[in-house]
Symmetry: none
């Protein structure tokens, strides 16, 4: 049974080696975190090497939520951090692990669901995954030597969670009444715009289309939208389509 | 050549596996520490497995000071921390890694030499080694699951050294170069949408129109939009209009 401490979910995106998944589970549980999600593990699931490595933290693997896509892993989340070695020119706030976990505590205390994305060992997160995040966590490593592995990155983030978690006051009570859009609502909004704009010929010329889509998704992910905002934005697009179809 | 940043020495006492010595070197150098001392490594010295594991941090192994005894490793030190999983009833101050590295910075700034002892993988430091320390570092792990390995313990301590050493603003928003939209650009965007949506019949029914416009303006005003976002949002609306006018 998962613990009932409110906490962020840690999402391993396309992890490669079972040993690293097991190592990440141990790193989490060292600091009392036990909500793991796993997106498309390279070697399938369950993974015996992961189980062997996790030893005392094997429960996290049994209870991990497995999904095919990053979107599915984030569907109930309101705020998402992406860990990267380098901030790659995406316009998003870049924060330290310390600040990120401070933000996570505030948001969780206000009733939001928070997730942290960790990329595959070799390559890290792809821009497409980073575009789904609201902010980037950058561990301030030696610029001459940045060689944190997956479990170490998980370890430092989990450590920062617990270092600050000790005396949490549920603050920001009045923000708690705001109904923020969930990640799946944001995905649906993003997909709606992308599909309609595609039909309308917005993603042109072809060689630029993919970049334009990433920019657009990136913009949505940075917007602090309420559920009411999302409804209004859907309504705007629906109305533009109706207007066109009316043809007057 | 070792860097000339004043810093604590990390002392590995009777480490067993070469891989862990190499892993500790990498963990240190990730956070800019490069003074390693090694006491009586089980498998002799140099150790090829340590070298292979250290990869880019191999210099730390070449420059490591090797001694037979813990005393010899500490001979020039003024203040010594010992890392332990459990404080074992020894009458010494027990501090967090955070507090320890804060103390280390103060002492080093005052010209003292500081060392941190890390024990052998399996058993940890013996009481005899701990007795040589002035204070104990205890990482606040989950009491139900304490399984930090040597390199992880080194990693967290090195991280705390550098976290406090860098005089960072708590939030390193890497968006300084971001060109945020100005108020007049936001006004123009809001007006553009309002006018087009009016034509398209979005503000309907009439009695609700004013409230809908206020909600929309409100939403724009809450969005942290860049100039590029604003251009994209103008482009989206222009494209919907073109699509309509093309009438295909």
């Amino acid at each position: 049974m998962p613990s009932d401490n409110p906490q962020p979910a840690f999402v391993l995106v396309r992890p490669q080696m079972g040993e690293n998944i097991g190592g990440a589970a141990r790193a989490m549980w060292n600091f009392g975190l036990d909500r793991m999600r796993i997106v498309a593990p390279r070697d399938g699931w369950p993974n015996q090497r992961a189980v062997a490595m996790a030893s005392g933290a094997g429960r996290l693997l049994d209870e991990a939520r497995l999904t095919e896509t990053t979107e599915a892993a984030l569907d109930d989340c309101h705020y998402v951090f992406a860990t990267t070695a380098r901030a790659r020119g995406l316009t998003k706030p870049v924060v330290t692990p310390e600040r990120a976990m401070e933000m996570a505590r505030e948001k969780i205390a206000a009733g939001e669901k928070v997730a942290v994305l960790f990329g595959p060992e070799r390559s890290g997160l792809e821009n497409e995954d980073i575009a789904k995040a609201n902010a980037i966590i950058n561990v301030p490593v030696n610029p001459e030597f940045a060689s944190l592995n997956l479990a170490q990155c998980v370890l430092l983030t989990a450590y920062e969670w617990q270092r600050g978690a000790v005396d949490v006051a549920p603050e920001r009570i009045d923000m708690a009444k705001t109904e923020w859009a969930s990640q799946s609502e944001m995905e649906a909004l993003s997909a709606h715009y992308e599909q309609r704009l595609d039909t309308a010929g917005f993603f042109f010329p072809e060689p630029k289309a993919e970049g334009m889509k990433v920019n657009l998704r990136n913009m949505w992910s940075r917007m602090p939208l309420t559920r009411a905002d999302v409804q209004m934005l859907h309504g705007i697009m629906r109305q533009m389509v109706r207007w066109k179809e009316r043809g007057d």
